[in-house]
């Protein structure tokens, strides 16, 4: 009787050990920032991959094209992002295999991602990412976000993680509908520079991607000019009582 019970107990424990979920992320990427501009969408992110607070990887591409009309940027767990990319590769492959002239646009991909993210959170096994999905199809610009629990929305400019706190206030002040490509890139670089200064996980190696009706281009990695001599950087905790 007793051995039976302990067997039962063991089997329960075993089945619990068999299914491990992501309880916390391991290698993470920080903010992604994206805006609509005159001809399409611009997206920027750095290439860092943090192992906890260690800046472990320095060449992680966190912006990827999806099909012909969409661009995906991700922050959060890098391996989960890679899994999402596998899902999307399959999705786009099967879509192309119809070979009937129809294709998934950014709106459809965004909706699909929302379902995947929310479905995984309902299994208590979330994909630990914040995703930004941008694209252009049939003259319509599209820009939206999905969180790791499936919260989703569209906006003219979006940012994940720290970008929400540091980049979006800048975008709210300076973004407008008719930004040229050059001005859009300048605006994103301004955001990325602030993030570089104030987000300890950000690194000075970034990519900017552009998607228009003509297609996708992701820039080569490059770095921003910085100036660390500002007086506010000398003793950042002055006036911040309780900090050290």
């Amino acid at each position: 009787m007793e051995s039976n019970q302990s067997n039962l107990h063991n089997s329960l424990l075993a089945s619990e050990a068999d299914s491990q979920r992501t309880l916390y992320p391991y290698v993470t990427g920080t903010s992604v920032v994206a805006i609509k501009y005159k001809d399409g969408i611009l997206m920027a992110s750095d290439m860092g991959g943090s192992y906890g607070s260690t800046l472990r990887y320095k060449s992680v591409e966190r912006i990827k094209p999806v099909g012909k009309h969409s661009l995906l940027g991700a922050s959060g767990e890098i391996s989960d992002f890679q899994e999402i990319l596998r899902y999307l590769d399959e999705l786009i492959l099967y879509d192309n295999m119809w070979d009937d002239g129809n294709s998934l646009g950014p709106k459809e991909v965004h909706s699909y991602l929302t379902r995947v993210m929310y479905n995984r959170r309902n299994k208590f096994n979330p994909l630990w990412n914040s995703l930004i999905l941008g694209g252009v199809k049939n003259g319509h610009k599209y820009l939206g976000m999905v969180s790791m629990i499936g919260v989703n929305f569209e906006d003219d400019h979006v940012a994940t993680g720290f970008g929400n706190h540091l980049a979006r206030p800048i975008l709210r002040d300076e973004w407008h509908e008719n930004l040229s490509f050059e001005d859009g890139v300048k605006l994103l670089e301004k955001c990325m520079r602030v993030l570089l200064y104030r987000d300890r996980s950000a690194i000075n190696k970034l990519q900017i991607a552009k998607i228009t009706e003509e297609g996708v281009t992701v820039s080569q990695p490059y770095s921003l000019k910085t100036f660390w001599g500002f007086s506010a950087f000398q003793n950042p905790t002055v006036g911040a009582e309780g900090s050290w």
Binding site: N102, E108, S111
Partner: protein, 281 residues
């Protein structure tokens, strides 16, 4: 005991390379009351003839809304038609749940055809006894498909299935070249005339036909009976004045093409030798 050695099983070939059970299922489509579909660049109109089973009963519904952008008209076994339209509805709604965008018509039709094909290749199944005219609107415009129990499907500018559909097809073949640029109203009018052709002299009334429309800015819907009656009344006034002049004119020119079309149509949509029973009796 058996009149035909090769027709007791869906999956059994005859030595002449035919599957009799599949041909019989296509025969069931011809037995059903007629259904008609035609399309322009922007609209699709589906119409059908409603036949009551007995004096005491009402008729069965033959046109179904699948989604806001897709509708279907059936001829043959209504019960099978309902099963297939339920399948189509569920495919459409699942697609709009996942992608928040309407399912392309062509893709739905392929899935439907695959479903019908499976039934022709499994010994424990039977083919569906229903033909479906699927009309819909998507990114690439308006589409009309005919889906056959054999698992074949074809895209059409205009088509008719069911009993006495040949008369409607003849009418449509004479006029289909103008349909692309037709207005919604002209399309409905042609649908009603084609429907009337299948009635063989019986008077066209709104009580014995159903008309439905889907198009740009217009979700799929079935016109209500009063509207249909009004349309019939207006166009019958017109037919008394109009047809003698314009209709005979295009006929000689179109006759050759019509003949060719007809041959092709028979080869694709229906049994190869229409009118002749597909088996040796």
């Amino acid at each position: 005991m058996f009149r035909n050695q090769y027709d007791t099983d869906v999956t059994t070939w005859s030595p002449t390379g035919r599957l009799f059970q599949v041909e019989y299922s296509m025969e069931a489509v011809k037995q059903g009351s007629a259904a008609i579909g035609l399309r322009s660049k922007t609209h699709v109109v589906l119409a059908c003839v409603n036949k009551a089973n007995s004096e005491l009963s009402s008729h069965q519904k033959k046109i179904f809304k699948v989604d806001d952008h897709i509708g279907v008209a059936i001829a043959g076994l209504t019960a099978d038609g309902r099963v297939l339209s339920r399948y189509m509805r569920s495919e459409a709604i699942n697609h709009s749940f996942t992608y928040e965008s309407p399912l392309p018509v062509g893709r739905l039709v392929v899935q439907l055809a695959d479903k019908a094909q499976v039934c022709t290749q499994r010994s424990w199944k039977r083919p569906y006894g229903v033909g479906l005219l699927v009309g819909g609107l998507d990114e690439s415009g308006a589409h009309l498909y005919y889906n056959c129990p054999s698992g074949n499907y074809f895209e059409y500018q205009a088509f008719a299935i069911g009993s006495r559909s040949q008369a409607a097809k003849t009418y449509l073949e004479r006029r289909f070249e103008n349909f692309t640029n037709s207005s919604r109203e002209d399309l409905i009018k042609d649908a009603l005339i084609a429907t009337r052709e299948t009635l063989q002299g019986e008077k066209l009334k709104s009580s014995i036909c159903t008309v439905s429309v889907v198009g740009v800015g217009e979700p799929f819907h079935i016109l209500d009976q009063e509207t249909v009656q009004q349309l019939i009344d207006t166009f019958e006034l017109v037919t008394e004045e109009e047809p003698p002049a314009p209709e005979p004119a295009p006929e000689p020119a179109a006759a050759d093409e019509g003949g060719a079309e007809q041959g092709a149509g028979a080869e694709q949509g229906a049994a190869p030798d229409e009118g002749v029973a597909p088996m040796d009796i």
